[in-house]
Amino acid sequence: MAERSPGERILDFSEVDSGFTAEEARSEAERCIQCKKPACVSGCPVGVDIPRFVLAIAEERFDEARSTILEANLLPSVCGRVCPQETQCEGACILGKKGRAINIGALERFAADRGEGEELGTLVRAPPTGRRIAVVGSGPAGLTAAAELARSGHSVVLFESLHEPGGVLVYGIPEFRLPKSVVRREIERVLALGVELQTNTLVGRSITIEELLAYDAVFISTGAGLPSFMGIPGEETNGVYSANEYLTRVNLMGAERFPAAGTPIRRGSRVVVTGGGNVAMDAARVARRLGAKVWLVYRRREDDLPARRDEVRHAREEGIEFVTCASPVRIHGEPAVTGVECVRMEMCDLDESGRPSPRVLDGSSFLIDADTVIQAIGTSPNPLLVRLLEGVQVGRRGNLVTDENGRTSLPRVYAGGDIATGAATVILAMGAGKRAAATIDADLRDAPAH
């Protein structure tokens, strides 16, 4: 699985590598020892039967590998690329204890990417139940819930406020990590199950709460869209972006093709990204591809970076300069950014997350000359629907409170993904969508028609 050279990669938005060849996939799959009690499966939030699909690849039954995955996961080409496998299936792989874990992510991608045109595989739809369900938000949680509910025979309407379905898969994750064509194909598969998609429709505005609650059940998966800002002086200066805005302009709107595409973006020559998660890596690498010199400022140590291991490595290879144990305190410039003033941080006692808590080192301030700042310090749950749903129980961070099966405090209203948990991963959102769909299905079967 040859990766393209960093020098070549930063000139375009194509993927870093082209995935396994059939021969590479087969020989990687053959390393699997087919554990009787596979730890990898318990490490998978949607419970893919990993040993079975890996065995199928080893025996070159590639279509079977693919349909095995699809039984549990309807977005496998996405997950093979963006899951944090090192902390999930691969992290649990027994071979990893002594040597190298099976590269399950790459195998999943390999199997899923094959076999275009026979999208539904062995998926079947249960007979129609006559129940109508609204799914609000077409990101990973919403797509998964919609697909599962449709498979159970319910009639599902999937609402999306943007012009394209996919949520963070289309506006957040860049093309070089997750090609839009891959996302589109997986969404087509969900729609082929009979899910009705309504784009450009903001529930709470285009659809009132009363209209929403007229459905037999509602699944809310509106995500953690609201960007956080650091709250430091100078944030209103021209050239300061949230990562959401910066990434949306490029990923969803094609700003890298401006003016052929209508959405502009500042082509900063010196960009400071703040944050250390996957979103920070994505923003930094997009800025690099737009031709900038990029600094990534993170307040803890390199070992504490929450981003996927591969993203950090790719970012470093591509020339992103990591400034760790540092934090911005002021953005200089008027009306446009001229620099970012930072301070050094020292690492102190471990906090509840098990990481050292950073403390400002007095008198350590330094300035990075920059013309663009991208803040990737997190997002919080989208507040619109949460505010409008009268009486629903809301958590400390503005999230919808649910039980472990996705039920909110309101009858017939369920939630999952980042709106319930705060910003997390694609696969955790999918797991939540799947659990909630099972709950909805069971609850509806027990309940009289609404």
């Binding site: 012009h163 450009n200 869209g225 609201l226 209103e236 949306t248 052929a260």
Partner: protein, 282 residues
């Protein structure tokens, strides 16, 4: 895709489009906006919902950048790629009060729907509309119909009263007790005009028009400073208490892409022939 059923030029560089968009029209209320994306490569731009009739919504805009020029080229029967909405919070509607609705330039577009809504809630409605000159005056008839009383001004005296809407507003509030004021127009006009109602302490709303991308609270591009705090115009607004808005910051942030806008416009004018290299076919 959404079909254009009417496209007309109302004044110098000011155009009207009526679009069939039932999902927007159904629940749209005064003060809200929509987002259009004219074609698959188009940017998303917010436009105030100026009128709603059945399945149809009207928007009115001035040609400034590539997207508005592109919109101005559309004719009845053409299709628009995307129309999303209604977005933002509706106007607050008092009852049994005296309200003034002040529109400046293309901002007049937002006024009749607000005036009508206020009127329907048993308010006395005074309209004041001002434009630079007679060629830029729009919707006078609609405003006359929606308001109990209407004043018309032009900066150069070419039509109606010679002067600014702010001058008339000053006189109106000196003559009778006005409880609420709406001011909608270019940022500088809203800034200057809202000073008139500050000292008398009249509750005054302005509709802010910062640069937006998604318009649903996701990107933070439209952040404005209101009462010293960061707010998002798309979900917290677009209407805010005029006396708490930092207009200078708004105007500064509206100019972020001046250079790019010039480049886009040049590109638009060079590629309007329908050739395959341009983003915009027309």
């Amino acid at each position: 895709m959404y079909s254009v059923v009417k496209a007309e030029q109302l004044a110098d560089r000011v155009h009207e489009l009526v679009v069939k968009a039932p999902h927007v029209a159904r629940n749209a209320r005064a003060g809200q906006f929509l987002i259009v994306r004219v074609d698959p490569d188009g940017e998303r731009i917010p436009l105030t919902i100026s009128r709603v009739d059945g399945d149809f919504v009207r928007v009115i805009f001035m040609t400034i950048g590539a997207t508005t020029y592109r919109l101005a080229e559309l004719t009845a029967g053409d299709m628009i790629q995307d129309v999303a909405g209604p977005l933002g919070r509706p106007s607050e509607v008092p009852r049994n009060a005296t309200c003034a609705v002040v529109g400046g330039g293309v901002g007049i577009a937002s006024c009749p729907i607000i005036a009508k809504t206020l009127k329907a809630a048993a308010n006395r409605v005074i309209g004041i509309i001002g434009a630079r000159n007679v060629d830029l005056m729009i919707l006078e008839d609609e405003m006359r119909e929606a308001c109990d009383e209407l004043f018309v001004t032009t900066d150069d005296g070419s039509y109606g009263r010679h002067g600014y809407a702010a001058d008339v507003l000053k006189e109106v509030i000196a003559e009778e007790k006005v409880d609420y004021v709406w001011i909608i127009g270019p940022a500088i006009m809203m800034k200057v005009t809202s000073e008139v109602t500050r000292a008398p302490g009249i509750r005054t709303f302005v509709s802010l028009n910062p640069i937006m991308v998604d318009g649903t609270g996701m990107c933070g591009s439209c952040r404005v400073i209101v009462n010293g705090e960061t707010r998002f115009a798309c979900v917290d607004g677009p209407e805010f208490d005029a006396h708490q808005v930092d207009f200078d910051r708004l105007m500064q942030r509206q100019r972020i892409y001046l250079e790019e806008e010039r480049e886009a416009l040049k590109h638009h004018h060079e590629h309007r022939c329908g050739c395959s290299t341009g983003a915009h076919h027309g």
